[in-house]
Every structure is written in structure tokens, then in C-alpha cells.
Amino acid sequence: MTKQQANWSPYDNNGGSCVAIAGADYCVIAADTRMSTGYNILTREYSKICKLADKCVMASSGFQADVKALQKQLAARHLIYQHQHNKQMSCPAMAQLLSNTLYYKRFFPYYSFNVLGGLDNEGKGCVFTYDAVGSYEKVGYSSQGYGSTLIMPFLDNQLKSPSPLLLPVQDAVTPLVEAEAVDLVKTVFASASERDIYTGDKLEIVVVNAAGIRREYMELRKD
């Protein structure tokens, strides 16, 4: 007597890839705009990036319905925070909130693979990377999604982040200039689009720095 398997899943994977890179005084967050299901494309122009606070941006790949619900939850909690504290949430605070929100649904998780990027209280770039149930770590750069298997090794090679286990504690942020980091992101996505079928169409790049938040786009392969 074999165990009966479910004939329906509450989850789906809408594909895509996300990347974030932290610099000395900026943070680059990027994601492609393709939304797919199975071998089909649902739309070529869907944004996976969401501004959570003044200096805090999140990119998520995975099941976009869960991602949307997660973004709404965080936005509502941020509003409450602003009413209570009369200021915006800092990126590290939002990082903890995201982790708690994800773990809250430990036994029916948000199928959402997130990277959080922004500036910390001192204006330095920071990137936090998550799994679906809220385990997170502050890193210098990260990628999530279908393309991350292709992207991450390349970023490891280029950005060579020191191990957080070393003493003395070394800065994880890249010494690259903002323009160089944006260029790197474009290169990385162009490469990922070549081999990953779920990544392509258009690249959305968001840059957070002292001047505010800026957005730019780049065309990617449509196939």
C-alpha cells in the first residue's frame, strides 16, 4: 500500500532571478522581469522588486502570489512602525522583521526567496539573504532564484567576499564603485539569460544611495 500523494499543490514557481550587491555607500538590487509557470511565460514585464522603506528594497523570486502577500504584510507593519516611532525603519530592522514574518509561517511557508538590500543607519550598503522560512545572514552580495546557480559562482569569483568567520572582522561590502557594480549586475544577468530558461526579457536595476532611490532597465534575451 503506497502512500497517497497530493494531486494539487498550493505552490507554484514563477521563476526569475534576483541579485543584490552592497557597496561602501550604495546598494544595487536587481531582478529580471519575466514571470513564468512551467514552460510558459505569463508576462515579460513583472517587477519582483519592492520598496519597503526609504532606504530598504527587497527583491524576491519564487511564488509571486506569496511574494505579493509578503510585501503587503511588510508594508502594513512598516506603516505601524512609522506611526509608533515617527521615523522610517532602518534596513537592519526590516531585515529582522522579514525574518520573523517568514518564520511565523514556518509550517505553511511563503514560497519566496528574498534578498533585501539598502543602506544601514550609517549610510553603508548592506545586503541580507534569506531562505523561505526566514534564516538570514548579512552578506556583501547575494543572488536567489533559478538563475542563482549560474550567478552566484560568478559573483563569488568577482567580489571575493572574506569569510565572516575570520578575525579581525572584515567588511563584506565590495570596494567597487557604484557604476562598476551596476555594470557587473548587467553582465551577470546577460550571462544567466543565456542558459537559464526562466531568466530573461528585461532587467530591472534599483540603486539605493544617499541621494535616494534610482531605477533603470536593460533589455535581456526574450527566448
Binding site: K72, A76, L79, I80, H83
Partner: protein
């Protein structure tokens, strides 16, 4: 007021059909420092007097942002006001979350009123001792409501609550017909002048009052002290001229509202010419 044998419980009627505890709660509102509100077709301005207990302490917060499109000014027990503001904020957030659109002001005030009514019909509760001027903008336009401890609510073109609010109300009654088409500047000026009426002789300074605005294309925000002081300075100069000219109008023009309206509009026009351009 007057003590009697029917005022111990909120659940006890008096033979005359009154609930004294509710009326006493409304007294608490009258004892609080003044708050005023006025609206045009596109904007609503809330103002309040901030009286600190002593020179050493800060003043109490009486104007709260509830959402981008709604704000509230309170008079009475500020603690009750704070709690109700938190409730209003929650309702707005939950509505936005579910319907992805801002909570219509009319709905919010009904919910507030129902909440206040509950406290007038439970023996283990007491009525909220705070009056709320709710200013909000929604699809049906600009609104100003007054919610009182009794659970009633009313919509107003302009209103004032709290101590010495009658002076402000008199001022607003003279001018309210022009408010619908007032500019941002004129509306804020009228609010400041109404606040000044409640001070009864004391100098109007930006340190003792707070002004907040919400309008089309303008989320609810409290004006900073410099802006308020600039506006006060600008009209203080012409304040005397207008004040002396307004007196005979108020006395004589009780009959035709149109006449009053025209006279006030004339003064409003001349004031505009005299006033220096201000940066908002």
C-alpha cells in the same frame, strides 16, 4: 455641572431622559484646549492650541496622522484620544490591506461613533472623554467630521471644540461661506486666525499652536514651525486692519448671509494684495 442621584452610572437614565455620564463626558471635551478644523472643496486644515503644563514640560500631542488621507485633532482626555487614534490607524491599515484603496472617511467616523456608543451602554465602561475632529479626503471630496463622546457625529464646513472654542466658532461662522473656494494660504490663515480668537488677547506664536493640512495631491502632514510662524507674521501686519473692519460687519450684517459673504470676500481680496508672497 450639578450632582444628582441619576448620574452615578452611564446605564442609568434620568427622569428627563438624559444620560448624565455621557453629558459629563462632553464636559471633559469642553475643558480641553481648543482644536479647530475648516475645509474647502479640496483641502482641510486642522489647528490646535498647545498649552504645556509648565515651562519645563513639553506640550501634549493633539493632532495625529491617521493615514495619508486622514488626520485627527482632539480635545479633552488626550489619553483617550491617543487610544482612538491608534484604533483609527489600525482600521485604515486593515482596509488598505484588504481593498488596496484608502478607507473612505465617512466609514471611519461611523466606526468611531459606534465604538463610542458601546461605552454609553455598558455598566462596566465609561464614555471616551475626548472629542475628535476628523479631517479626511476621499473620492467624494474633502470632509470634516466631529465625533463626540455620545456616539454622535456630524459633518462640518468648519468647527471648533475645547475651551474658548466659542470665540473661534463665531469667527468661523462669519467666514465659512467663503471657505469652499479658499486657496491653501487663505485656509491656513483662517485657521490661525480662528486659533488666535481662542487665545483671547495672548500673542499668537507658532510655539503654542499646531497646524496640519490634508488635501488633493497633499498627504496629511503637520506644518513645521517656521512655515507657521511665517504665515502668522504675514497676516499679523494686516491683522489689525482686518480685525477693526470685521467688527462693524459682524454687528450690522446679521441679516443677509450673502451680504456678509460679499463683505468678507472683499476683505479677503484686499488682504491678499497686502500679504507678501510666502513659500509653503
Amino acid at each position: 455641572m450639578f450632582r444628582n442621584q441619576y448620574d452615578t452610572d452611564v446605564t442609568t437614565w434620568s427622569p428627563a431622559g438624559r444620560l448624565f455620564q455621557v453629558e459629563y463626558a462632553m464636559e471633559a471635551v469642553k475643558q480641553g484646549s481648543a482644536a479647530i478644523g475648516l475645509r474647502s472643496k479640496t483641502h482641510i486644515v486642522l489647528g490646535c492650541v498647545n498649552k504645556a503644563n509648565s515651562e519645563l514640560s513639553s506640550h501634549q500631542k493633539k493632532i495625529f496622522k491617521v493615514d495619508d488621507h486622514i488626520g485627527v485633532a482632539i480635545a479633552g482626555l488626550t489619553a483617550d484620544g491617543r487610544v482612538l487614534s491608534r484604533y483609527m490607524r489600525n482600521e485604515c491599515i486593515n482596509y488598505s490591506f484588504t481593498y488596496e484603496s484608502p478607507l473612505p472617511v465617512g466609514r471611519l467616523v461611523v466606526q468611531l461613533a459606534d465604538k463610542a456608543q458601546v461605552c454609553t451602554q455598558r455598566s462596566w465602561k465609561r464614555p471616551y472623554g475626548v472629542g475628535l475632529l476628523v479631517a479626511g479626503l476621499d473620492e467624494s471630496g474633502a470632509h470634516l467630521y466631529y465625533n463626540c463622546p455620545s456616539g454622535n457625529y456630524f459633518e462640518y464646513q468648519a468647527f471648533a471644540i475645547g475651551s474658548r472654542s466659542q470665540a473661534a466658532k463665531t469667527y468661523l461662522e462669519r467666514r465659512f461661506e467663503n471657505f469652499a473656494d479658499s486657496s491653501w494660504d487663505d485656509l491656513v490663515k483662517d485657521a490661525l486666525m480662528a486659533i488666535r480668537e481662542t487665545l483671547q488677547g495672548e500673542t499668537l506664536k507658532s510655539s503654542i499652536c499646531t497646524v496640519a493640512v490634508v488635501g488633493v495631491g497633499e498627504p496629511f502632514h503637520i506644518l513645521d514651525q517656521e512655515t507657521v510662524q511665517q504665515m502668522i507674521d504675514a497676516f499679523e501686519v494686516v491683522g489689525e486692519q482686518e480685525g477693526s473692519a470685521a467688527e462693524p460687519d459682524a454687528a450690522a450684517g446679521q441679516e443677509a448671509a450673502a451680504e456678509q459673504g460679499a463683505a468678507a470676500a472683499d476683505q479677503g481680496g484686499s488682504t491678499d494684495e497686502c500679504v507678501a508672497p510666502m513659500d509653503i
